[in-house]
Subunit: 215 residues, 2 copies
Amino acid sequence: MKNISKETISQMDKIEKLNLINSCTGFKSANLIATKSIEGNTNVAIFSSVTHLGSSPSLIGFIVRPTTVPRDTYKNIMETGYFTVNHITIDMIADAHHTSANYDSGISEFAKTNLEEEYKEGFNVPFVKGSPVQLYCKYVNEYIIKENDTIHIIASIEHVFFDEALEHKDGWLQLDKGNIVALNGADGYFLPKLIDRFQYARQNVPTKSFKKDKE
Amino acid sequence: MKNISKETISQMDKIEKLNLINSCTGFKSANLIATKSIEGNTNVAIFSSVTHLGSSPSLIGFIVRPTTVPRDTYKNIMETGYFTVNHITIDMIADAHHTSANYDSGISEFAKTNLEEEYKEGFNVPFVKGSPVQLYCKYVNEYIIKENDTIHIIASIEHVFFDEALEHKDGWLQLDKGNIVALNGADGYFLPKLIDRFQYARQNVPTKSFKKDKE
């Protein structure tokens, strides 16, 4: 095992440090957050920090860096209060990655990629067409993380849209049935496959597989 | 596409709601957080919320629910200020899942599973033996998320230990080389495989693959 200390990390060049620290926490969710400004300009940007916070109430969180891309996502959420979270499939990875390019404010990444806006009846904010899981979310609160001047956005899940092929009877969405990817670091796109699903863990009882529900 | 509204979600039974909301944000990191109490009792518990917050300084965050398992993790971190984050490999998944069982405070999950404590010279907190990426972390701050009474713990990465087989020249750790898993929902264990790695995205330039670095 290699041992790299905080002191060594602080002296690494910027890219090497970013790659190491971005990859050392494990696999990450890969989502496109789509928004619309009050003037009607759309925006879509890749995020790898969307995290489940709790199911009652249904809350998610994600991290925004106000000083870097994607500024428009935050601005639009502040203006309208709503955004969509769209899972990235293997067919979308090159376009999804391209949304991290530093376009001027007001330029839509939908116009610069093959990603397509999808509008659902009754919803003013775009979804990403072809995404097998799409969340319609409402801004609830934010916490400034003063240690590095990032913002932890808290949002409620107002609607969950999903491809029925992913659904299990007990509510679980099996993401590999939609060819949904995960991120490793800032730029590595991975396709996860189900190994096993386990039943609720009970003390002093060996872990039980959920095979009957695996199909 | 199925459309499930907030109102429908709020009326779901507890397990169905938990499965749906826990799986609808995407793949999650799968980590074992190991701690030691001031009296010397060890603890290890699975977490799926460890998130990269930034690389300068190197910070991570994760979510603790004070009212549910794993209470000991939080108590021990408060007592000693330190903990380790250990990536879960495919061989560990049944034991890792078992750490979510509701053992009494003070009972070590290391004693109840095949997971083994590993001590490194100069470090008082246990690591998980066989984990190909291990972080030694220091508590920095916490933010109470008042919307659901969870705690967002902020910690600095003091040391990164990793199996050299994962390392790329530019600092990136390729997690599938260590058979590291991802979580989907509360109980689905997945093995991700690299599809592609992309270069830094630049405006109006098509996404470029990083194939020469893929090996």
